[in-house]
Symmetry: C2
Subunit: 144 residues, 2 copies
């Protein structure tokens, strides 16, 4: 499930690990009782420092989403799905609102914003990857 | 033009100063040859450190958007409008794409994303302010 972590992204890797985990729980891809990869394995796979993975995992634990069992690994807690769904929705809608406000301030139209959303949604682009050319093409005006 | 800078936001104040300036140029509210407030005045008005304002202004200057004239102030350069429009559009569309990818990963529908955009656009919410209740209400599911 962490195939798409992008260590070149400007989103910090530990945040990506946290968000990928939360979105996987929210969308049902990761279920209560399931185990996350070990810190050691995930750090090797992503070629990042173990502290980076540990930091992402710590955030999940402090949110009450996971529990680490000594010698066993890190597990998704029972009964967290509804909470995770609500938390993800709240964050994503806040984030979306912020970008729409920026777009409005910069003079983009509501129509144009919705067009970008439609295009973006239809693409199977990895999370936190580079912005696809199809989206950047929409950014170009007659000036660009 | 910096009335809505929000020092409680999780967007750094110098970034807000930079973005407010860019969006104002992109939307025609701030024109070539016009002067930004002095660092001292803006720092006082926002009740932030002068270094914070200076950092925002430095970013604009390093992008080639402004020029500072000793003893005169900081001015928007001639002929930068098209460049600023393109730069703003590119950043905003990348940002929008990222949020849509998050929303999709967390199982929101395209329809729902567009509904939030429409509602957000219709609100006259300040940039980088708290997320309006009308948006947070859309985040609530039957769980919330």
């Amino acid at each position: 499930m962490f195939e798409n972590i992008n260590i070149q992204s400007n989103v910090a890797v530990y945040i990506q690990i946290k968000n990928h985990s939360l979105f996987a729980v929210a969308s049902g891809g990761l279920k209560a009782g399931e185990r996350l990869p070990s810190i050691n394995d995930l750090a090797k796979k992503l070629d990042v420092n173990q502290n980076t993975v540990a930091k992402g995992y710590r955030e999940l634990e402090s949110m009450g989403i996971t529990r680490s069992r000594r010698g066993m690994g890190v597990f998704i807690n029972q009964g967290v799905e509804a909470k995770v769904v609500d938390e993800c929705r709240r964050r994503i809608l806040s984030h979306l609102h912020e970008v729409v406000a920026e777009a409005k301030a910069a003079n983009l139209s509501a129509q144009e914003i919705k067009q970008v959303c439609t295009k973006s949604f239809a693409l199977d682009a990895p999370l936190y990857g580079e912005t696809p050319d199809a989206i950047l093409a929409l950014a170009r005006t007659k000036n660009g």
